[in-house]
Symmetry: C2
Subunit: 124 residues, 2 copies
DNA sequence: CCTATATATCCATTATTCTAGAAATATGGA
DNA sequence: TCCATATTTCTAGAATAATGGATATATAGG
């Protein structure tokens, strides 16, 4: 994940309609949902939604496949978690969010202190 | 963190200049840096940068304080990690990113499988 | 081949965002 | 008080994004 991919990803999530679409797709999981269902569920004209879906698809946030007459959209979870990794690694500090790879368990582990963040050093 | 705060946060990170500003502020940590230093470091006119800083400040991503004639900007790490929490909790699925609070150690722990995500159920 | 359905593309309009020059505001020091 | 410095606010033009009606494309079924 480089800076350009990241800005594109943030852009894809930076608009109310698109965030709603993504969150809805998350509910549908890997099965995904056809464009028409999303359009109907969210009450957004199909061509407007198509515009946003193509925007999100281009950014990498969603994927699509044809099934008969329908185009099924799915959230790209791998991309989304890569974005989270990028945020921790490249947009934060160890004191506030650290990441390590647990190869045993095959997962990334992020830790974020919940309270008492390190205080700024006081002037003497 | 609600959806509106989230879209505002994503919006604040969705533009090249602003992402660069944020990442630069991350380097300066809690001390922060004056607007002029950011402007000079990034080679962006000070009024243009001021526009972006105010945008980011309004979204909650950065904070500012006056010190003499300078306005010192700092990354809002608490807000940023809240955004990450929101992404895991409200924009993802357990299979791909899970979060739990480790009260003993006073931190949130996020786990994200790195490989072999659960396959979509096959049609029989 | 014809029709209905599902979705994308084209297009024009409107709305929003970005940019930077010019002016205004706030502070510190002589 | 006057001046220099640091930054914001005002302003307008340019660029980009969002919206939805009309049309085009792809597919399934008769």
């Amino acid at each position: 994940m480089d800076n350009n991919q990241a800005t594109a990803a943030f852009d894809a999530l930076s608009q109310d309609t698109r965030l709603r679409v993504f969150r809805l797709l998350v509910e549908y999981g890997q099965e995904g949902a056809p464009a028409g269902v999303l359009s109907e569920t969210l009450g957004i004209p199909q061509n407007t939604l198509s515009f946003h879906l193509s925007h999100m698809n281009h950014a990498g946030l969603v994927q699509s496949r044809r099934e008969g007459r329908s185009i099924i959209y799915t959230a790209n979870f791998e991309f989304f978690t890569d974005l989270i990794r990028y945020m921790v690694k490249d947009c934060c500090r160890m004191e506030f969010a650290s990441i390590r790879e647990d190869t045993q368990r095959g997962c990334s582990v992020i830790e974020m202190p919940t309270c008492c963040p390190p205080k700024r050093k006081e002037k003497p």
